[in-house]
């Protein structure tokens, strides 16, 4: 019998109660004979300059039944087997502030989190830089992160200059973006989540033409790197420089991209997207990372490195059926990832280390495996993946309900996760969502050795 903390159950009950209240039908406003209101109120139509404010509050509960037989569980909890079910509760406030005056505008999106975790160690590393609070608390934590904050100057419609912290959205893929050279990785289970940006300065210069080449846009980028800014991009103090050239050519979006800098592997990239028919889109990305240095570990705990040029690519399609079902399919070759044999060596090391600890109390091998855990443990650390997502809005005439199912497969070891989800727009300002992540796979494979047997995530987001 698995033990679920009483506080977790209480918080879950609160969440469900809030959801029930949200689902309580709201009477429609009277709209006269026509059934609608002809009073036309246009927000800020008369005076679009000045201060703008919007935001969202999210309440999220995550429950993870743990797989005590999995190797990543043993790696983390070999000394202290914890609860068999972990739960986390998050209250997130994400306001967006903007100020516009003629050609100049300012924008900021901070993120304020207050969370309760059954085991704070189970959470991922926080984004940097962030202000952490309640470090000494066993279960409670809080943080403040500026996800984006930048100033824009638009002297003409064809030229924009921006500086500040910004998420650079390079690439055409939905689940992965090998050409996103200076962006944080997406959460593969939830690629639509907002992310934190990097501090940078960049420009957008646009020219339009008649003929097959309709648009040409150039985006040069400068990214400072130092101990206090963008420190995870490269060691030391330097400035990264890069650019994107965008072409709309024969109705096809094409980007050519590069990024370079001192102590930063040179990256070159290409992406494209086009519609083969009105309901069938194809896209792709290819990225070359020169001189990539990969850390490896063998089953005896010896760490080595290999330097090579990594060529990663992605091919995808998006298809809309006559029943309004959207199919998204992507294949991703991650040349910076580990082969199935290399992953098996890593898992063997953990297994040997765990057995050694049980037999002798010596945890040297387990600690060796932890040296490279941040490389091997994240989802997407393998080489070849398939991402399939099916979604259909409002099936069976149930308004504002969108069910979806996603399958993420590691083709190298035949492991995969199945992620059913459902979202419901209970009111125009309130979204309810349930997401399940269920891993499958043979022993010693990526998804079968995850810490959790499953992940259940319930969330409620209010926008204002």
């Amino acid at each position: 019998m698995r033990y679920v903390p009483a506080s977790a159950l209480a918080a879950l009950a609160v969440l469900l109660l809030c959801a029930a209240l949200a689902l309580h039908p709201v009477p429609a406003r009277a709209g006269g004979d026509a059934g609608y209101d002809l009073d036309f109120e246009i927000p800020e139509a008369e005076e679009p300059r000045g201060l703008g404010f919007k935001g969202e509050i999210e309440l999220r509960a995550t429950i993870r039944p743990l797989d005590e037989d999995s190797l990543l569980y043993k790696q983390r909890y070999y000394q202290d087997m914890g609860d068999s079910v972990q739960s986390d509760f998050l209250l997130r406030l994400k306001p967006e502030l903007s100020y516009a005056l003629d050609a100049v505008s300012l924008y900021a999106r901070p993120r304020l989190d207050l969370d309760w975790s059954a085991d704070k160690r189970a959470g991922g590393e926080p984004d940097e830089p962030s202000e952490e609070f309640m470090d000494d608390e066993r279960h409670w934590g809080s943080s403040v992160v500026l996800e984006e904050g930048f100033a824009s100057w638009q002297p003409t419609h064809a030229l924009t200059l921006e500086a500040g912290k910004k998420v650079l959205k390079w690439g055409k893929g939905y689940a992965w973006n090998p050409v996103a050279f200076v962006s944080r990785l997406k959460d593969i289970d939830d690629p639509d989540q907002t992310r934190e940006g990097y501090v940078m300065a960049y420009a957008d210069a646009i020219r339009s033409f008649d003929g097959p080449l309709t648009t040409l846009a150039l985006t040069p980028v400068l990214v400072p790197v130092g101990t206090s800014v963008n420190g995870d991009l490269a060691p030391g103090d330097s400035v990264l420089y890069g650019a994107k050239a965008y072409f709309l050519l024969y109705d096809t979006d094409i980007d050519l991209l590069f990024m370079n800098g001192e102590a930063f592997d040179t990256r070159l990239g290409l992406d494209f997207s086009t519609n083969l028919s009105s309901n069938f889109e194809v896209h792709g990305e290819a990225a070359l990372r020169r001189g990539f240095d990969q850390q490896r570990i063998d089953d005896e705990g010896n760490v080595s490195s290999r330097t090579y040029d990594a060529f990663s690519y992605l091919l995808g399609l998006r298809y809309l059926s006559s029943t309004d079902t959207t199919l998204l399919l992507e294949y991703y070759h991650n040349d910076e990832g580990y082969s199935p044999e290399e992953m098996r060596e890593y898992f063997t090391l953990i297994e040997n280390g765990y057995n050694q600890y049980l037999d002798t109390g010596n945890d040297r091998l387990i600690k060796r495996s932890n040296l490279v855990a941040s490389d091997y443990n994240p989802s997407g650390a393998g080489r070849d993946y398939l991402y399939l997502r099916l979604s259909r809005p409002e099936p069976w005439d149930i308004l504002y309900l969108t069910p979806a199912v996603t399958c993420i497969a590691n083709l190298g070891d035949a492991s995969f996760t199945v992620n059913p989800e459902v979202s419901y727009l209970a009111r125009q300002d309130l979204t309810l969502r349930a997401l399940f992540v269920i891993p499958f796979g043979p022993a010693g494979s990526e998804f079968s050795e995850k810490i959790q047997d499953a992940k259940i995530q319930l969330s409620m987001t209010y926008t204002f």
């Binding site: 709201v26 927000p43 003629d102 846009a217 709309l248 979006d253 504002y400």
Partner: protein, 247 residues
């Protein structure tokens, strides 16, 4: 002599009033309808209202700019959950930009960024003459009836049956048909309104569909006015900044 001239003019005018419909050029009429609905390049505000069978509503406010025959960009101003979402159309290419989340993605004319009965082709509509050719023109019940055929297979509706007010030369009703002849939806143009600077058009478009029994969607126009913008505004790179055009 003067009397003869007056009689001749009266004869010509009376003959003109009785002209058979085939004497009116269908393509020219369609061009006139397009220009009466909006200047070729313009900006406008719209409220989209989706009304459900139980009477409850969802409302969206959009700011839209159009240039020439095939370029349209829109940005949502309300509700807060949608604010900043922007759409771009260049001919049959359509993109949706969701701020904060990701890069613009290609979308199709048959999807709907707002849900409800209006699809993306309705919300980002080009001039009718760009997408449709006139198959026939009839006159009935004091109105012109234009039968239109899509110029390419990429167009959202294979055929349109457009009823045009003879005096105002604007549509009063458009039936949208699939290639099979099945009725997909009907658009009703209402509330003739003077927006100033010579722009007079119906301020309201209602739609219903046999495919969505009991549901209704309404599009309400405001501040429709001519505005010429540079081509660079109608590009994927500018899409996240469409709202800056309001400044």
């Amino acid at each position: 002599m003067r009397l003869a001239a007056v009689l001749f003019l009266a004869l010509v005018l009376s003959a003109g009033a009785a002209l058979p419909a085939w004497a009116v050029d269908g393509e020219e009429l369609l061009r006139t309808v397009d220009r009466n609905l909006a200047p070729e390049s313009y900006e406008s505000y719209r409220k989209l209202v989706n009304i459900e069978p139980d009477g409850s509503k969802r409302e969206y406010t959009l700011y839209t700019v159009k240039k020439g025959q095939d370029r349209v960009a829109s940005v949502f101003l309300a509700p807060a959950s949608e604010k900043g979402r922007a759409t771009l159309r260049q001919g049959e290419n359509m993109w949706l930009h969701i701020p904060e989340v990701g890069k613009p993605i290609r979308i199709t004319s048959l999807q709907s960024v707002t849900g409800g009965v209006f699809n993306n082709a309705d919300i980002m509509r080009l001039d009718y003459q760009v997408e449709y050719a006139v198959e026939s023109l009839e006159e009935a019940d004091g109105a012109y009836l234009l039968k239109l055929k899509a110029r390419t297979a990429e167009v959202a509706y294979d055929r349109l049956e457009m009823r045009v007010d003879k005096a105002l030369l604007v549509p009063t009703e458009i039936r949208c048909l699939a290639a099979s002849g099945m009725l997909i939806k009907t658009l009703y143009f209402k509330q003739m309104t003077d927006f100033g600077d010579g722009v007079q058009r119906p301020a309201v478009i209602e739609t219903d569909s046999p495919l969505h029994q009991g549901y209704k969607s309404v599009m309400i126009f405001a501040k429709v006015q001519a505005r010429d913008l540079p081509d660079e505004v109608f590009t994927l790179t500018f899409l996240p900044r469409v709202e800056s055009l309001r400044r």
